[in-house]
């Protein structure tokens, strides 16, 4: 399995070419997505644990519930991300008369999520290292939008949090490019597309995603 993973990461063209004619097998891709989802849940747990005191004035005693939803949100979002990306790629590839099944697309997109595991893993480790430096302001009056904005801004702009956000943004872009490289090969063989059509199918939505990510960070 290690060889398979290495091949997916470093020789995706060869891997997907070999698997082009085979029946789609979702076991390993689902395992990859599951690991990614679990790590996303841990990251969600960490973030909501840090932010929960912010809501203590209105949700005192309910921090556990907030943290649970944070972790569950991370897990579900990862699964949804896999499915939504597969659907988008499938629909786009239809424009180029792609022929493979949706299951084959899910398999390819699932394999492509492997690099994102590294990104989430690094983010978890980094957040663990700086968690005790992050100060969480308490929002005293949720009816006052200015107070809420001020508290959120104070939370996000503190040095440790700003550094974490920058690292997370840069790594998400870098590892998303790696994932896109795998998805490109995967879609090419899963949907029997030309190299150019596969590039359009994958790089257009990924590019839009990256632009949104960069804009969200405030660079553009």
């Amino acid at each position: 399995m290690a060889d398979t993973i290495m091949k997916i990461l470093f020789r995706p063209d060869e891997f997907f070419e070999e698997h082009a004619g085979k029946e789609p097998a979702l076991g390993l891709p689902f395992g990859i997505v599951l690991i990614y989802a679990i790590l996303s849940a841990i990251l969600g747990y960490q973030m909501t644990s840090l932010m929960a005191p912010m809501y203590s004035s209105i949700a005192e005693g309910y921090e556990g519930i907030i943290i649970f939803f944070g972790a569950a949100g991370g897990f579900v979002t990862a699964i949804i991300f896999w499915i939504v990306a597969s659907v988008i790629f499938y629909l786009l590839s239809m424009l180029f008369k792609g022929e493979g099944s949706m299951k084959k697309v899910l398999e390819a997109v699932g394999y492509g999520i492997a690099p994102l595991i590294a990104w989430v893993g690094i983010a978890i480790i980094w957040l663990s290292m700086v968690a005790d430096q992050i100060v969480t302001p308490v929002i005293r009056d949720f009816m006052d939008p200015a107070a809420v904005d001020t508290a959120l801004e104070a939370f996000m702009t503190q040095p440790a949090m700003a550094e974490y956000t920058l690292l997370q943004t840069v790594l998400s872009i870098v590892f998303m490019i790696w994932a896109a490289n795998i998805w490109y090969s995967g879609m090419r063989y899963a949907r029997k597309l030309t190299a150019r059509n596969a590039a359009y199918t994958v790089f257009i939505p990924v590019g839009i995603y990256l632009i949104i990510t960069i804009i969200s960070y405030g660079v553009l």
Partner: protein, 376 residues
Amino acid sequence: MRIYLILLILLAALVSTGAAADTSAQVTVTGIALDPGVFMPWDTGTLQVTVMNTGTLPITLSAVRLTGEQNVDVLTSPHTGSGMLGAGNSMTFTYTIRVRGEEGIFYPRFSMNFMGGGSLSEPILLRVDRRPLDAGISSRPDIFMEGRRDDVVVSLGNPRMNTISSVSITPVTGAADVVPTSIFIGSLAPGESRDAAFSVTPMGAGDLTFNVQYRNGQNTHTVPLTIPITPGIAKKAADPIVSNIEVASIAGGYRITGDVSNAGLESARSVVMTTSSPATPIDPFRVYVVGTLDPDDFSSFEVTFAASDAEEIPLVIRYRDDDGNLYEETVMATIRSGLQPVQEHDGGLSPMMIGIILLSVVIVAGAIIYSRKKKR
């Protein structure tokens, strides 16, 4: 002849004696007024005796006097006694008297002689009672606190048999601010009692004396009531206790988190947490407003500060009582040995982060380039 002469003299004597007896029977004492009604030892007062001629003939007075006794001195006796008291008329004689130090019941004697014989003598009942106005502190705080306003109630009662007048209470102290500066009560009838409340705000240690002044007749008496003011910690006062203190490094300084509880029996209002020199409060929590802490209540707090070369920093708790008096307490928080503030990068990136990003970029770029190389 001699016998007639003797009979005539005897008759004259009999006639004279009968006239004298008639005259004394016509004059009666109709009123006695003492001011004060009951004297205190060494009091000066007045005695008024009113006599009336109830007969049908005028009477000529030859001598009128008030005779004191061992404990009663007659200071002024303006009536020497000559004069005429017409039929049906009254006459009032006023004397200034002073009692000495003994208490009890005394009988100075009022007497008058009549021209032509006869006299009137009337003992005057005069009471001397040394019991003063009862004055006491009926309510005061167990312990005074400096700068904190407390009520002190002075209770007054009149155990005497006469009304006392012009009762007033004046606090005298250099150790407290007392409001009001004086209370006038007025008269106190026998058996009557009154309370007077003062607000006392101590400014230091010393004595607080309430001078209770009153008049018994024209005599002024004073009862001093002294209570010591020794500022301390009131038993019921709010008592903020800080616990669960944790000090952690943050960018450019430290963060203290902990719990502040009110172990007192009164509410601590407007509780504010901050740090003081050598620490310098920094954002985002220069000051943490906890608000009101009721007895047995607690709240978590968080303050941020910068400090260099300090192993202990003072954590300051400010709070107010119900009257708005401000209190401040300080708790020392120890910065763990070796705990250093996280270095700020002035907007730059930490070397570790740059390393992670560069390594990630190199790995991803290498992976992509390698994946696109044709297999040989």
